[in-house]
């Protein structure tokens, strides 16, 4: 009997790291290797959302993000025989996504940075409080952009995708200790932009 796993309404795997999710992915991979397009469709639906989220954190340009997500799935098909039987699919796949997003980030020509990003500041005047929040958001995202690429990816995987250091180590293909250290550096850089707790309370 095919392993089952809980999924959201849009087919996304709720937590790809559970034993059930890993088993379901392995089952689907086996079907995909035999040319089963329906199984591939389910694999796509299970992982598109998180792939999109990871790529968006790095690129923050929707068209590029969609290109990266599509390209990542295509590469997955091309390299599907490299996944050993029983090996969890999601760290391997998310590694492809991270590398593809970083690669695209590097190859982007220097267009006006504000025009490239989806989150450039609006010219519309805003109430002061909203303006403050918007400015903080922009500063935070600019600071995120200024982190070294792989450190940025690690911070996103930890603090947006909420993966643990072991999973991130598999995705980034580096020791868990290195992940934790890079995460510490990245968080420290971003933390310095945030208001102190006593300032927030005013």
């Amino acid at each position: 009997m095919a392993p089952s796993d809980r999924a959201d309404d849009d087919g996304a795997a709720r937590d790809p790291s559970t034993d059930d999710a890993i088993a379901r992915d392995s089952y689907l991979l086996g079907r995909v290797r035999r040319g089963d397009l329906d199984a591939y469709g389910e694999l796509v639906r299970r992982h598109t959302r998180r792939a999109y989220s990871i790529a968006y954190g790095i690129l923050r340009h929707r068209e590029d993000v969609e290109d990266v997500v599509q390209e990542s799935f295509t590469r997955t098909l091309e390299r599907i025989d490299r996944i050993a039987e029983g090996m969890p699919f999601h760290p391997w796949f998310y590694r492809i996504v991270v590398n593809a997003a970083i690669s695209l980030q590097r190859s982007r020509t220097r267009r006006a940075a504000s025009a490239m990003r989806d989150d450039f500041q609006s010219a519309e005047p805003q109430p002061d409080r909203l303006a403050e929040v918007g400015q903080l958001r922009d500063r935070l995202l600019r600071a995120l952009d200024s982190l070294p690429e792989r450190q940025r990816a690690i911070v996103l995987l930890a603090d947006v995708e909420e993966l643990n250091s072991t999973e991130i180590a598999q995705i980034m293909d580096m020791p868990a200790g290195t992940v934790r250290y890079q995460l510490h550096l990245g968080r420290r850089a971003l933390r310095s932009l945030l208001p102190a707790p006593d300032e927030e309370a005013r």
């Binding site: 849009d10 599509q70 935070l140 995202l141 934790r180 510490h184």
Partner: protein, 138 residues
């Protein structure tokens, strides 16, 4: 004990701020369209690991008469051989008249099954889809 590199205090504040800042990342995403786009890419026979020969074999499995499948295989072979030398579109274009003549001798109903209403250009695209991308200029 918390590993100091996990940064307990920093972790929650940075996490909250980042999740807030990126909370709109899924806004307006048409998941069905994106899924369809990804699956359409995979539906190319080469994407699922099939070789053009497998494609021809699959045509036979759709009930196309054997003679028609053999002729189609000959067309594919004529198109592929020079493509292996990576002369791509120019070589394929040179063979187009030959391929057209061959296809003209394929029974009508077989041609219709093969092309599903499309033209020889589509068959050429199918074969070229199996070619690896050219190296990017440095």
């Amino acid at each position: 004990m918390t590993n100091r590199f996990e940064g307990g205090g920093d972790k929650q504040e940075v996490r909250s701020a980042l999740q807030d800042a990126l909370s709109d990342r899924f806004d307006g995403v048409d998941w069905e369209r994106l899924h369809a786009r990804i699956l359409a890419d995979a539906a190319r026979p080469a994407a699922l690991g099939a070789q053009p020969w497998d494609v021809v074999a699959s045509w036979a499995s759709r009930g196309i008469p054997a003679a028609g499948a053999l002729l189609a295989a000959a067309v594919v072979a004529l198109l592929i051989l020079p493509l292996n030398a990576r002369s791509d579109a120019a070589a394929a274009a040179a063979l187009l008249p030959v391929a057209e003549e061959l296809m003209a001798s394929v029974p009508e109903e077989t041609r219709l099954l093969l092309h599903a209403g499309s033209d020889l250009e589509s068959l050429l695209n199918l074969v070229l889809a199996d070619e690896p991308p050219e190296d990017e200029p440095s």
